[in-house]
Symmetry: C2
Subunit: 222 residues, 2 copies
């Protein structure tokens, strides 16, 4: 019966290597052999330390979540700023995390994959990853609209805002081919581009939201 000492060096190297490989390839395509190679560990190490591949994956998702909570800049918005500024700051920081490269984007990549082919990790994300982010945006939108954060209208606006950020993350492969000048050789977006997109999304959303507090839907077309 293995001991699973959390401090084991090999165990840690496996988690670090696995995070990268899972983020690149997703759970199913990631190869245990590849992970072990990068971790300079034997092929049997995953099964010894984690039982199986899926358990390692779950451990990685939780670790990435904890790490992201430790420093995610979009979660720490200056409470004294105006609601408009809060929104702008959130969007800029959120885009910044999504559109650069490296570990900060890994959890997002895994989440995108979970939506297409859910594993047990999706339940974890629904419980632990999504609510904090939604909560921050609901707070800002609620303040802007003078509505309770859990109002349905606020929820719709939150979806509209987050979707505008996430599309640039989701369509990165397409952007690479259609607008390569926007993307650096290391596959990250240029900070100036990020700032520009953040400005647009903020403006678009601020004006979009003011409509929401009052108006019903338009007349139906064809």
């Amino acid at each position: 019966m293995p001991s699973y000492q959390p401090g084991s060096d090999t165990r840690n190297r496996l988690m670090v290597a696995a995070a990268e490989v899972f983020a690149e390839q997703g759970f199913r395509h990631a190869r245990v052999s590849d992970i072990c190679e990068r971790a300079q560990a034997n092929i049997a190490a995953v099964n010894y330390h984690f039982g199986d591949k899926e358990n390692l994956y779950l451990a990685v998702v939780q670790k990435l979540d904890e790490e992201s909570k430790a420093d995610a800049p979009y979660m720490q918005i200056d409470p004294d700023a105006s609601a408009e500024q809060k929104l702008h700051t959130f969007v800029r920081q959120f885009l910044g995390v999504l559109l650069r490269t490296g570990p900060s984007t890994w959890l997002g990549k895994l989440m995108a994959r979970e939506m297409m082919e859910p594993t047990a990790a999706l339940d974890y994300m629904i419980e632990h990853v999504i609510p904090p982010v939604e909560g921050v945006v609901r707070g800002i939108v609620g303040e802007l609209l003078s509505l309770p954060p859990d109002s349905p209208i606020v929820q719709l606006c939150v979806s509209s805002i987050l979707s505008q950020c996430m599309i640039y993350f989701d369509t990165k492969e397409i952007a690479l081919r259609m607008r390569p000048e926007l993307i650096n050789p290391d596959r990250s977006y240029d900070p100036a581009t990020i700032a520009f997109l953040a400005g647009h999304i903020t403006q678009f959303s601020l004006h979009g939201m003011h409509a929401m507090a009052t108006v019903p839907g338009p007349e139906s077309g064809t």
Copy 2:
């Protein structure tokens, strides 16, 4: 040397079965054996008629694209309607296609997967699938803002609009778990919900866009 007669019955059954299996599982996870079983064909049929699995996949993507062009309701907007009505109609029809079940959603599912792990099919989609849809929305937005359809501002607004629609498609697995009451037992969204979302997205976007024609970005926050 096989003949690849396009009319072969087995060949057609394979394409129909493959479309469904690929849409469900994606290219890599789809099993040739599974496809052949559903097509009531022998396991060797795919290689005989298409050469290999990827070629079958490409053929399926093209067929789905042609079929979608034949009837996609969001591509046929009444040119005499007001720009506002055009937008509302587009959003409602586009959401309708995305949020129901069945063959009309298959191409979208495959496209979502191509963004995460591109194959040769992504190039086809970038050339043939995306431009027509973007073109329609650019036309509507250009009309609304009195700007040329290829203006950068129009492009930003198109992204904002499409993203708000697609997020409900992309997050369906999450909605299924967080808001099951919105989704029917057959995994489609209720028409009333679709209409409601379309109303929100249209309003939000109409107001968001009017800001765009004039204003620069907001002052920077933290």
